[in-house]
């Protein structure tokens, strides 16, 4: 029998310190790559030691251990010493607030030259304070593979200076990517993305950052109802709305309203507004589809050629068109996307939904089966097979009756 440790380590608090300590090291003149490696070692040490011996000052502890690792690394690498000396010679401008630390590090990790997978991995480690193993587990790859991906990414962004402005649009895209890859295993990446987006909103007034946070909260609120006890997908119209997280919805709406007040709309704010309207409906029948369609009109108006540039928005709008103007009109909207999205499961799934809405169960079954063949996620594939089987059976039953 093993005794439960009397003190449980607050991993969230520990991880929240990571970007602040890292930014402190970089501001002091350490290079990003070496400092991030050293801090990762300090983090692993903290996870091992702190449950038994909690530090008096957690931030100072991490800084000291990381610094010791940096000194060790320098001693063993003469070439590095020369480079570090050169860096020390140019003191960096001082920024002091925690929000600035987060923003600076997000710009480093979401450098536009990096591939999305590298941006995500680096962000989760350097800003999220996750260990390489946790990130590897979340993406179902070996730890060594993820370690290599992170070190290659860091080599690519080396030499970046503190005063360079970053690309906020890329940061937002990376955080949304972290959110959408989901919540498998030990680490809930969706919750992690929300935490990072919340930090980001403290660092920038850009309404799209708040729009992204609102979008995540308003979607995440439905997560408890999205799967049943057997892990089966439950579609929005069949979800038990009593299981939605009202606290997240309230926060999401509040954040969205403050973003919209800036009068600078963008895609995340618009998508959050759509999510808010779904969350606001007491039942599927009470969904305000005309209002949703109006927001989708705004969304597709953001791009010159939405069919090519933002086909997913056009597809979402087609569903709203189906509910407002009828299934046939919705299906006509999807026709425009055949060349762009015809190989994707979602296009077929939407057509299945619209055929079913219009009462053509045989066509719905065929479309759902085509969607199932193209699905790349097991839960979605199984769901689409069920939808096909259900609509086909309903169609047969109807033929017997009539």
């Amino acid at each position: 029998m093993i005794d439960e440790p009397t003190r449980r380590l607050d991993e969230g608090a520990l991880r929240a310190l990571v970007p602040r300590v890292l930014a402190g090291l970089v501001r002091r003149g350490e290079d990003f790559d070496a400092a991030e490696d050293a801090l990762q070692e300090a983090l692993l040490e903290a996870l091992r030691v702190w449950p038994e011996h909690p530090p008096r000052d957690a931030r100072a502890w991490l800084t000291t251990v990381a610094t010791r690792r940096l000194v060790d690394a320098r001693r063993s690498d003469a070439a590095r010493i020369r480079r570090e000396d050169a860096t020390y010679a140019e003191p960096q401008p001082g920024v002091t607030e925690a929000g600035d630390d987060t923003l600076f590090l997000l710009f480093c990790c979401c450098h536009p030259d990096l591939a999305p997978a590298s941006q995500v991995a680096l962000t989760l480690r350097a800003v999220g304070g996750l260990t390489t193993r946790e990130i590897a587990d979340a993406f179902f790859v070996p730890e060594a593979t993820m370690a290599q991906r992170i070190s290659r990414a860091k080599r690519a962004v080396q030499g970046r200076r503190l005063d360079q402005p970053g690309d906020l649009a890329v940061v937002l895209r990376v955080l949304y990517l972290v959110y959408t890859v989901g919540h498998e295993g030990h680490v809930d990446l969706a919750a992690e993305a929300i935490r990072l987006a919340r930090q980001l909103t403290l660092a920038t007034d850009e309404p799209e950052a708040r729009g992204l946070l609102a979008l995540m909260l308003l979607n995440h609120a439905r997560r408890p109802a999205r799967f049943d006890a057997q892990g089966r997908i439950v579609t929005l119209d069949r979800q038990d709305r009593g299981r939605w997280n009202t606290r997240e919805i309230a926060e999401g709406v509040r954040v969205l309203q403050s973003a919209l007040a800036a009068q600078r709309p963008g895609r995340y704010q618009i998508e959050a507004a759509v999510a808010a309207l779904h969350d606001d409906a007491a039942s599927a029948e009470e969904t305000d589809w005309p209002q949703i369609l109006a927001w989708y009109d705004d969304l597709v108006a953001l791009t010159d050629d939405p069919v090519r540039q933002d086909p997913v928005a056009v597809l979402g709008r087609a569903v709203a068109v189906g509910h407002v103007l009828g299934a046939a009109a919705g299906l006509r909207e999807t026709d425009r996307l055949r060349a762009v999205l015809g190989d994707r499961h979602r296009w077929h799934a939407v057509r299945g939904h619209l055929h079913e809405l219009g009462g053509d169960l045989a066509a719905a079954a065929t479309a759902y089966a085509a969607a199932a063949q193209r699905a790349t996620n097991v839960a979605e594939r199984d769901h689409l097979v069920r939808q096909a089987a259900r609509t086909r059976a309903a169609d047969s039953a109807r033929r017997v009756v009539t």
Binding site: Q230, G231, A365, Y368, A369, A372, Q373, R374, A375, T376, V378, R381, D382, L384, V385, R386, A388, A389, R390, R392, A393
Partner: protein
């Protein structure tokens, strides 16, 4: 302990013992029973300490070969895309013996199909070569 891949196929292999339509054409209750069986198999292998990995593959396939210097890769969906073997997924297991692998493959093959009757699906067993260093002197 030897490792085996139990390969399931969308098509190909010996003549089917029982011919069944694609799952989207089964009765909804039969679909549920089969998906529940798949979950059960994974849990069983994990509980036995025999599970290594299980993955499904989408049916889309592209054959690729080197196109030659300065040429793009050459791709095709196969000479006979409708009749060639097409792997659907696998279980990788780590078991005591070949006999145990056969036993598990037969169990997988007997999962419920339309009408709740066993599928009698052909399962392809392949032994995985050991990648570690040799521990014995070789002849």
């Amino acid at each position: 302990m030897p490792k085996y891949l139990l390969l399931k196929h969308y098509r190909g292999g010996p003549e089917p013992y029982r011919s069944v339509p694609p799952m989207d054409q089964w009765a909804p209750a039969d679909v549920e029973a089969h998906l529940a069986f798949l979950r059960h198999v994974t849990e069983l292998l994990q509980a036995n300490g025999e599970y290594v990995d299980a993955q499904g593959l989408t049916p889309a396939r592209t054959w690729v070969r080197y196109g030659g210097q300065d040429a793009a890769p050459v791709t095709t969906d196969g000479p006979l895309p409708e009749t060639s073997d097409l792997v659907a997924g696998w279980y990788m297991i780590d078991v005591e013996s070949y006999e145990r692998a056969v036993e598990l493959a037969a169990y997988v093959s007997g999962g419920p199909g339309p009408g709740g009757q066993p599928l009698y699906e052909w399962v392809d067993i392949r032994e995985v070569m050991f990648g570690g260093p040799s521990t014995q002197d070789q002849a």
